[in-house]
Symmetry: C2
Subunit: 214 residues, 2 copies
């Protein structure tokens, strides 16, 4: 299977998948590009182009099969693989992610939490096994995890990323406020609380400049 998925389409894949699941739950089996476009607020031409890429072939017809499209999306995104997650760091964010009840239902089970502060280990309230950071190298190979959540102090984040890379982890979801520099074949998504607020604040400033209050 080989196809070029543009970056904007990558960002839209989860929305397509979500809409297919909703349609299926509503008992809808076929949908036209026009109706799907209305649902997703996208132009029908865009929908057809996207679906040609998703299904890997052009198609003439009067509707798309919801079930087929959903299966294609699952396959492209590897959602049939049950990507296991490990969480590093046991502050508020680490605990929140580790204890999130619905990740497993969505195919992303959290299988372990690694704590940088061994003193915490005794008072664990996590729903998953908690190991000290020092056991990363011995535990990760057996855990079969593909994704690591970094909820660590800034200064530890890059070092951890490097160690995880050496252990075969290829996807990082980081809540650390570090400028991470991953190897080329490692995917990183950064979620920075303050950066997000600062960017929103910037947007407000811009809008106020463009239309000052009287």
């Amino acid at each position: 299977m080989s196809r070029y998925v543009s970056e904007p389409l990558v960002q839209r894949l989860p929305a397509y998948y979500r809409h297919m699941k909703e349609l299926e739950a509503q008992g809808v089996t076929e949908i036209t590009s026009r109706n799907l476009g209305e649902r997703m607020q996208l132009n029908p031409c865009q929908i057809r182009q996207d679906i040609n890429v998703i299904e890997g072939a052009g198609k003439q017809g009067f509707g798309y099969s919801v079930k087929e499209l959903k299966e294609h999306l699952q396959k492209i995104m590897g959602l049939d693989q049950h990507r296991r997650i490990i969480v590093l760091g046991r502050g508020r964010t680490g605990q929140e992610i580790a204890n999130h009840p619905a990740f497993a239902d969505e195919g992303f089970p959290v299988v372990a939490l690694f704590d940088l502060d061994p003193g915490h280990l005794a008072q664990s309230t996590a729903a998953v096994p908690v190991y000290p950071e020092a056991e990363l190298e011995t535990r990760v190979p057996d855990l079969g995890a593909k994704i690591a959540v970094l909820a660590l102090p800034t200064e530890k984040a890059q070092e951890m990323l490097n160690r995880l890379y050496d252990l075969g982890i290829r996807a990082i979801w980081s809540f650390s406020r570090a400028d991470l520099h991953p190897p080329r074949d490692m995917a990183v998504v950064n979620w920075h609380l303050y950066d997000t607020l600062q960017i929103l604040s910037y947007r407000i400033s811009q809008m106020e400049e463009e239309s000052p209050r009287r």
Copy 2:
């Protein structure tokens, strides 16, 4: 003040600000584009171009003043304004954000939480006042909030966005899994837990296709 800040630079502004604060804390008062480039893993040419935009003027010399640059960044991002936040929805995410201890220190105080389920009101553990959703229109004008956090069920998110827009809110940080359609003069940042995981899963699939395991 008028300058064109490209979208990639908008995304970098928080990192510049963070580095200026760190340098200041370390007692550094001046920094060259080369040293800053090494810190931020950016080319010195990029640094100079960015700073010309941030400072609103070209500059010849042997170093940038950390204090001045920090003040410019604060001004551009409106961080001297204390942007107040309201939170809508009191599930896990809503509570987490409302009780986050450090937002106020960063200039983003959470001033109220609006609960869609009035039955919850009695058992509030929030550190901020909790009001029923029905009081949105009477409370928000007095709260002086600029940013709203949406931690709501998907089906309520767009309706709330519309009501908040009418109340003068111009920035939304959404954790709802809805495809939001904001007016042109409203900024929205979406944080979707599952979408993020699905995109990471997609990246893993891509990498495995490119270099299959033997």
